[in-house]
């Protein structure tokens, strides 16, 4: 590594440097960015091939967690959560597959499959918001329901992903699936979607209302914000992103696997959102943080085995990171308050 590590800054920083640092900690993404860089550097130092040869694999996993993490971050900002995300992820490609099998061309089959995902999210939201079932429970129910339905309908057998799906989403044919550009493509989708939702969250009425609903539901109601609609719409966004991630994954792997959406995928995505700076209390969180958090989760999962750790060991630092991130979040909020 030619570039000096950021930790090598002299402690005798100037006043403006200190001010800049202070301004920097106001951004909730700062912490996770530093962590991501440190992890990348450490793995690169331990295994010279980490950044160079592992990038496509790493970015593909980042995309997988990230698309769901973006949805979970939005939903967690409203104060809700979706445990069924991984099952929506495995269900949606089957929607597309069956629609395609009955003769619909991909421009109809894939959007309709995503509408199906949206309907699942809408149902999650409706049960949570209108009937007052905590989202932890309503989406837990949905998790099992979808799992059983997909396994039954597919007879637990994977299906081949239609080739035109792959061409559309990954910019390559099936022979290239799993290599080079096709894996980067999923990550590029994630970056575009994360940037779009950052704008949605910070610069649209819907986004500000999303924060308001999670931060102070009563106030939002008093100001005439349609709180129920805002929450339900975020459940829908979550579901569509999870469904989209499932379709992308089915293109990358070339098969639609009923067991693809393992529940740890949902948990990794929630972990990514949390270590990215999104609070489970609602009101605060960032989409870009969720993206970088996904990179950290992917780095731990893919990177630790590369430097000689057992495959399962990655969950140890991940577990510590989740709790540490939450503590840091609470402390930083207090620190920011003191600065004003």
């Amino acid at each position: 590594m030619a570039a000096p590590a950021p930790a090598g800054q002299p402690p005798s920083a100037t006043r403006t440097m200190g001010d800049r640092l202070k301004a920097l900690i106001r951004y909730p993404e700062t912490g996770i960015t530093v962590v991501a860089i440190v992890i990348a550097i450490v793995f690169e130092l331990l295994n010279g091939a980490f950044l160079t040869s592992e990038v496509p694999v790493l970015l593909a996993s980042t995309a997988q967690y990230g698309l769901i993490a973006v949805g979970e971050a939005m939903l967690m900002i409203t104060g809700e959560i979706d445990l069924s995300a991984a099952k929506i992820y495995s269900t949606t490609p089957f929607f597309a597959f069956y629609l395609s099998a009955v003769g619909l061309p991909w421009p109809a089959a894939i959007p309709l499959a995503l509408v199906g995902a949206a309907a699942i999210g809408w149902l999650n939201g409706l049960i949570t918001v209108r009937l007052g079932v905590p989202s932890l429970i309503s989406t837990l129910g949905m998790l099992f329901l979808l799992n059983g339905a997909v396994l039954t309908v597919s007879h637990s057998q994977p299906a081949r992903t239609p080739e035109n799906f792959i061409n559309v989403f990954l910019g390559g044919d099936q022979q290239n699936a799993g290599t080079g550009i096709t894996q980067i493509a999923a990550f590029l989708w994630l970056v575009a979607i994360a940037l779009a939702f950052t704008v949605v969250l910070r610069r649209t009425r819907f986004g500000l209302h999303t924060i308001a609903v999670g931060s102070n539901l009563l106030a939002a109601r008093e100001l005439g914000i349609r709180t129920e609609r805002t929450k339900i719409l975020n459940f829908v966004i979550m579901a569509v992103l999870a469904g989209f991630a499932g379709i992308i994954e089915s293109c990358a792997s070339g098969s639609i696997d009923p067991s693809a959406g393992d529940n740890t995928l949902t948990l990794y995505a929630i972990a990514a959102a949390v270590i990215g700076g999104t609070s489970l209390f609602g009101g605060s969180g960032t989409v870009i943080g969720a993206l970088i958090g996904s990179f950290v989760v992917a780095s731990l999962n893919d990177g630790l085995p590369l430097v000689g750790a057992q495959a399962g060991f990655a969950d140890v630092p991940l577990g510590i990171a989740i709790v540490a991130a939450m503590i840091l979040n609470i402390k930083l909020t207090a620190l920011r308050a003191r600065q004003v």
Partner: protein
């Protein structure tokens, strides 16, 4: 308050709001039983009463949250009803709730426009106009004499008085005809409370906005109100101009004339 002399007298001010026989039941419990109230344009009316007298229920009706079980509301002489908070705001009724309805995780400027953000189209997408929100927020705060370091500060980081002032500035921003303030002093210290009363007096001096001030303790607000209405068990039992009565007389009246009832209410509430 010494500034009282500058406040123009209300002479033949037209009626803005009248409530006649407003009743509200929640299931078997009757919260309002035939409440009558009149507010003239530019008038500041204090609505006082013990906990459970029905103050909150009445303002929830005026701000469109609840509909009365019976009774009639008149706005500028014409009968009207409110189906939602949005309708109340559209009519020019702004409410500063006791909880202030501020969102801690949004900035001062974002709170100022929450629920009616100005929109600017960028490449066809309707984005909120952050710059306009900042500039206008600074204007509004200047108008009501509030100084803040930055309108980008999160509301979480402000003091109680600053928060109350921001809530009032927000309510005034749409140039309402009626401003309802629910217990604006309840959570404030003496100095911060005085600042908020000054704000009310400032609005009153212009005589173009009517104010209903919900208070628990009327001695604090005697100076800024034109009339005091005493609400007891869902009815207005006393309606008196502050110019026709001194604070001491009012206290004596409440204790003697109305004495039995309010005392009973206080006991019932366990105070």
């Amino acid at each position: 308050m010494s500034v009282d002399a500058d406040v123009p007298k209300l002479v033949d001010a037209p009626e803005l709001l009248r409530a006649e026989g407003v009743t509200k039941n929640y299931g078997p419990s009757i919260v309002l039983r035939g409440l009558d109230l009149r507010v003239a344009r530019g008038e500041v009316v204090a609505l006082v009463g013990d906990n459970g007298a029905g103050k909150s229920t009445f303002i929830k009706i005026l701000s469109g949250f609840h509909q009365p079980t019976a009774g009639t509301l008149y706005w500028e002489g014409r009968e009207f009803s409110l189906a939602s908070p949005t309708q109340a705001r559209a009519r020019g009724i702004e409410t500063v709730y006791q909880d202030l309805a501020l969102v801690n995780d949004l900035s001062v400027a974002q709170n100022m426009f929450l629920g009616r953000e100005p929109i600017k189209r960028v490449l066809g997408f309707p984005l909120t106009d952050a710059r306009a929100m900042r500039i206008k927020t600074r204007e509004f705060l200047d108008q009501v004499g509030i100084r803040l370091n930055s309108v980008d500060s999160l509301v979480r980081d402000l003091s109680g008085g600053q928060r109350q002032s921001i809530a009032v500035a927000r309510a005034m921003q749409s140039q309402p005809k009626l401003l309802i303030m629910d217990e604006p002093l309840a959570a404030l210290g003496v100095r911060e409370g005085a600042h908020v009363l000054k704000l009310v007096q400032e609005i009153r001096r212009r005589r173009d906005v009517s104010i209903i001030l919900i208070v628990h303790n009327y001695s604090q607000i005697f100076e800024v109100c034109d009339r005091i209405n005493f609400l007891f068990l869902g009815e207005i039992v006393l309606d008196v101009a502050t110019s026709e009565i001194t604070e001491e007389e009012l206290i004596r009246m409440v204790k003697s004339g109305l004495g039995a009832k309010p005392a009973a209410a206080s006991n019932a509430a366990g105070i």
